[in-house]
Symmetry: C3
Subunit: 356 residues, 3 copies
């Protein structure tokens, strides 16, 4: 069975920025229940979602100004997690405090640090600037996945599956046929997988959004920043159109397809997805089409990965996967993830030398 270990001491995406507002939002990350909200000054806050008194979920409680009043007995917490009122008495126990999580809003995503708070460095959060940059338009969603984290990492690092699982949407025969190149930056801890297709069919996802009717050159440049952020730099252009010598590329269409892969429990995952584009940026119909199409593609992945999780749950121990060239990206990701697991606080290398 695949390992289900968590990698702590890392930043994970807990929410799209727009999900965190006045209401209390419950979200479990790496098995830790968190309540998220935004204070009156706009700052996102994340507190442990369990009252110190009798465990009641704060997310089921009342927000009063920037405080949370527990819905069971009224224990009241400020934005730092400190308890500032208890029922029936004036003295507040010194230890009455729920843990506060380091939370950072960046590039339209809300990141939370799971691990030792002292080790949280916001500068370590990988960036995806297109998601809220001028000149780009983004559509997004979040699908619940009833499968372990590693299955989605495998899925995204090997896009040959587009040909089989996403035919008619984003897959064409050439994706599976075209070899990839894989590079690992062990210092920066990034996995790069590149597939450059020349003179190939344009899948409906891009044909309808860009208006291209003929054959295309299609680039899929993956950049995976484990454990959470996955960037797919997609370039679509009519066949033969090349970037200019100065690096600008005005005659191509660019999409930045971003996934944030956040473990919820050991066998479930938050599958955040975003599609940013630099074309037709004011065209609501293109936005609607891309949102609907990408959600369909994500749900195809969800159905497949949920099936894999059921296979794993039912199988006896000892199954050995067989890997081929298309898996070099996924295997590299596992190697990096395993190294990160062995460094994290309170965790050694995973028993089977894997991280997913």
């Amino acid at each position: 069975m695949m390992s289900t270990g968590f990698i702590r001491d890392q930043w994970y995406v807990a929410a799209h920025a727009h999900e965190v507002g006045e209401d209390l939002l419950a979200r479990t990350v790496l098995g830790e229940p968190i309540v998220l909200y935004r204070t009156a000054d706009g700052t996102p806050v994340g507190l442990a979602d369990r009252c110190v008194h009798r465990r009641f979920p704060l997310s089921l409680s009342q927000r009063v100004d920037d405080r949370i009043v527990c819905g069971y007995h009224g224990f009241t917490y400020d934005r730092t997690g400190a308890c500032v009122a208890v029922p029936g008495q004036r003295r507040i126990p010194r230890t009455a405090r729920v843990p506060a999580y380091p939370v950072v809003e960046r590039d339209s995503l809300v990141w939370v640090w799971i691990g030792e708070p002292d080790r949280a460095d916001p500068a370590a959060i990988p960036r995806a600037p297109w998601l809220d940059a001028p000149g780009w338009t983004t559509v997004r969603g979040l699908e619940p996945l009833a499968a372990r984290y590693g299955l989605l990492v495998d899925n995204l690092l090997d896009l040959s599956h587009e040909t089989y699982l996403h035919a008619g949407y984003i897959g064409t025969p050439e994706v599976a046929e075209t070899p990839i190149t894989t590079e690992v930056d062990d210092d920066a801890r990034v996995v790069h997988v590149r597939r450059r297709m020349k003179d190939v069919a344009c899948p409906p996802f891009y044909a309808r959004s860009t208006g291209i009717t003929g054959r295309i050159d299609r680039w899929q440049d993956i950049e995976f920043h484990p454990p959470c952020l996955y960037l797919l730099h997609a370039r679509i252009a009519p066949t033969g159109v090349e970037p200019a010598p100065d690096g600008t590329d005005p005659h191509a269409f660019h999409a930045e397809i971003v996934y944030a892969i956040t473990p919820e429990t050991q066998t479930s995952t938050h599958d955040f997805w975003l599609v940013a584009r630099d074309f037709a940026t004011d065209d609501a119909e293109v936005s609607r089409f891309l949102a609907e199409s990408n959600r369909t593609v994500v749900l195809q992945d969800v159905a497949a990965l949920n099936a894999l999780e059921r296979v794993i749950a039912a199988e006896p121990p000892g199954f050995q996967e067989l890997s081929i060239n298309i898996d070099t990206g996924g295997l590299a990701a596992r190697r990096l993830l395993n190294a990160m697991a062995s460094e994290a606080s309170g965790a050694g290398p995973l028993p089977d030398g894997r991280s997913g």
Copy 2:
């Protein structure tokens, strides 16, 4: 994680009296499946709900006169649990018998003894005479709770939660604000928690049932007879109305709110509730209102406690609750329950020194 040990050698409420009749009733108490019915002479009977032959539930079988004929192969049991007929042969195996539980009907409740039958003493059953006494009218119900027994004990021993969980029904701010006094009778094994509120708002539950429009004096005198019977002696009167020197109290309104807390499995509980009153005893509209209101309040508790059970199921070991003054009643109850657990047949003290 909270302990989930059962306390055997005790009486537990298995049913409201009206639930036990001609039909076979299945009910699990402390993990033991029991079939209940009432014989032609009106006596309630409780037998183990599992045929000795191939385990078929007797509660899914046929009642013929005062006997049960197993619905699978026809093994027939009398009211004592003795097998009196088997299919295909005249000889009945000597050991063919299902256990019969000591069962006592008292105060409109059907109590069952879980433990060594020889130790069952009906005199040890705590009383709640108002439930079927002249001059009183009672409404009642039973809600299934998907949470462990101890969470409901905690809930009922600390009524400060009325302010937060039952606002608009039975809670007002003064409940949480008013200090309690707690007394434990270690010999009789009763926990008393008293809250006496003077000149406070009248919650809708009492305003509409009593007709009082102004401010009230409100008493909440809890009497918990562990493990099962919880009595809340509630007194409501216009502010300043006192009992007479002779102890009579003709100008106040009295409600006897009774809960029977019966573990079903280690993580589910039968939440029996009853509200007896000495006012408007013939007023069907008041009965309807109190039944509906109290059921709503119980369902608010059920939702909260089910949420706590889910929190406990998902959390790693080691959570330490933080207790304050309002918890003295609940902590006293735990202490008594733990003492009872250590005395019961076949059970030592619970590993974490708790009983809930």
Copy 3:
């Protein structure tokens, strides 16, 4: 608790023949997920339902000619389980192969061998020739049972339960009242249980299908070929009608009621049922009636056995069944099954000396 061990190195019915066709059929047998289909030349094929690459179920994949193309990344398997194509490269790893199961179609049933393929001998498959023989008409079905295999074996070997569980359909009081004779052929490994009823009531199942209006002689001759095939040779005739001295029996009605009992998981079972008859063979209304009636009877069994499985799941260890004369067939079956379990590859005798 009853043992839930599997008996490997045996043939099991995986499907009715008509279920296996052009489409890919997923079926789990003894915990092993299998994909079944029929090649263009009509041969049934069974392969392990898990791609060697990343575990995707082949049953959720595409069939192309006689091959299966994995729906996730396109690994392609021929009817022998050999991988004949992988994406993105020409070299196919030597070990790329999914296990192929020995599969035999016989008497309108598709049998699969679970165990060491080298030990699979089609001659060992027990026969039920009436199921597709001239002069016979068969109705059939398959019901999922959420209960362990042994509970259905017990059920079918002791038909006294017809009186209680199937009254009004196939049961009459005389079934439970009439003694049985049990014989075990330890060499051929067959359990025989015979019940010969004379001058008894005709249950609706036979009255309406045969047209008999009076009393009958009714034979129930069971032949159980463990682990999977159960034959009930049923003979119905007006009271006093005997077979001719030469063994022919032209004035009686014969039904061959067949069950195939195939473990799906340790606590679920495929309950295949078939009713073949030598009367009214062209009467569609009789076929419809027998199909509907037998399905009702099977669903009554399913409800009862599912209840037993829930009893077993909830009970503490140590329950001892009590057996009487009616159980001699079931106990004999358990003894044979236990002997078979101890011989099978990789399995010793079951810990509790039982097999069911």
